[in-house]
Amino acid sequence: MESIKITELVKKYDKVTAVDGINLTIEEGEIFGLLGPNGAGKTTTLMMLSTLLKPTSGTAIVNGFNVVTHPDEVRASIGMVFQDPSSDTLLTGYENLKLHALMYNLPWKSIDKKIDSVLELVDLQKRKFDVVKKYSGGMRRRLEIARGLLHEPKIFFLDEPTLGLDPQTRQHIWEYIRALAKKIRMTIIVTTHYMEEAEKLCSRIGIVDHGKIVALDSPAYLIRSTGGDIVNIKGKNLNLKEIEKLPFVKGIKNVEGKYLISVENAGKNLQHLLGLAGDVEFVEVRSPDLNDVFLFYTGREMREAGEEVSFMQDAMRTS
């Protein structure tokens, strides 16, 4: 059964089109990753799926309910961990969870038991009665993951659950999510711009750029779709036209003065390629990862694409 079905989803602000016609179906029980730089439209998409934003056009069906016509039913089916911390720092962990349980109409008698079980899941029992102000960033995120799970949602959204956390904590958070997916049967949709994390965790990945899904498959397939090995090459007057014609060359991308060439079996074919290339200054051969996938589908590095946007946001804020 499908958990989520998105058809031609669009969100436009005054001048900017944040989400530009997304089509996507996510099956029940999947761990689905939305991958893309900051400002690609991932968060906007999640906000529409969780009914906090109204789509400009298109439809989104979540757990069988249309987000525009049946928002209350949609909200009852989902749990969400927001990108920015959203717990009340003046309340204790326990109080934050209790508040959540009441708002979701959980039976009074079950509340304390459920709170204990989710706290155990994220390893926070000892801090149960501490005010959230005293929590570290990672603990707070864990509390919010616990909170999102408290009402046992069918679909769990995690928006950049590891953003702004140190590498060790990040790894812990992912371990929690993975353990969770094993324990509880639910659909998990996670957005991230950390490639390695998405690669390890997700059963399928949608690469989002400029509000569009530019590639969609399992991480392994996405990596394979780049064609083989990556030859990163730099030089003067490279004979690209001849290289492109070679039978083992699957594609060429120009990235800031360098060329990324996807090559079948580079170990064997590299010499032939270089012989043809001309005045080569720099060569690197590697197995592709999701970074290369992103590069191949968008022609940009993920990191730079993100910085472009945050620079624009800064400029907008100061003006």
Partner: protein, 252 residues
């Protein structure tokens, strides 16, 4: 609509507001201390120009009861802007609770703050300030404060629902707080004002709250208690109507 679900939601939202209120000691302190400062400093200062300082202080006492309500009401609005900023509002809006429930839950939370403060001040007036009180005037004052708080807190929430930055809210709300307070006749009698100002004071809901309080506490007022109460109730209904609408259209 499921009644139990709604009640539980209201309780949850109220519980949160109340718990936060009790943990922010400075807020509790300032909301009670501020009107008392005014009462003593302003009351004694201006009162010294009149023949009887105590008379003037008693005259403005109802105004300061209303003042605590006005300030807490507008604080309720600041709080929702703050909730937007710390993203707590997202957590509330993503629950299955309806926006109407969220509005009333928030309002109930701030009502509790406003009533604790104004009733405390009332008690101070009865016990220490020598304001003449009877059992019935205390009860009628409490009713009036309750009714007035409902409208003012709704107004605060309405303004808050439209604003996104706490700074912007601070600016806008002072354009609302001060006219409401200063035009209410809290500090001076309204009988001999120039015509244009009379009109403005009559547009101010606080005028009727203050006048109604004066009717029961001092026995001297422009209108009787009941018509004043009715007008403030009318204001409440209008504000709750607009408030639920404003919450439905509120964006993050």
């Amino acid at each position: 609509m499921d009644i139990r679900k709604t009640l539980k939601g209201l309780y949850a939202l109220w519980f949160r507001e109340f718990r936060v209120f009790t943990r922010e000691k400075s807020r509790v302190f300032s909301s009670v201390a501020l009107p008392l400062f005014w009462y003593f400093i302003f009351g004694s200062g201006v009162g010294s120009m009149t023949t009887n300082v105590a008379d003037y202080q008693h005259f403005i006492f109802p105004g300061f009861l209303a003042m605590t309500i006005i300030f807490t009401g507008l604080f309720a609005g600041a709080y929702i802007v703050w909730d937007k900023k710390i993203d707590f509002l997202k957590e509330v809006l993503i629950t299955p609770l309806s926006r109407t429930t969220v509005f009333f839950g928030k309002a109930m939370g701030s009502m509790t703050d406003a009533l604790i403060q104004s009733y405390f001040l009332l008690l101070v007036g009865v016990l220490f300030l020598g304001v003449p009180f009877t059992a019935s005037s205390i009860i009628l004052s409490m009713v009036m404060l309750f009714v007035f708080a409902t409208g003012l807190i709704s107004l605060g929430l309405i303004i808050g629902s439209f604003m996104t930055s706490p700074e912007g809210y601070g600016l806008i709300s002072s354009f609302v707080i001060y006219p409401i307070f200063l035009l209410s006749g809290a500090l001076y009698p309204l009988d001999n004002l120039p015509g244009w100002m009379q009109i403005l004071t009559r547009l101010d809901p606080a005028t009727y709250a203050v006048d109604g309080l004066r009717a029961v506490i001092l026995g001297k007022s422009t209108m009787a208690y009941l018509p004043n109460l009715m007008i403030v109730l009318g204001f409440d209904v209008a504000m709750m109507f607009v408030g639920t609408w404003a919450f439905k259209r509120m964006k993050l």
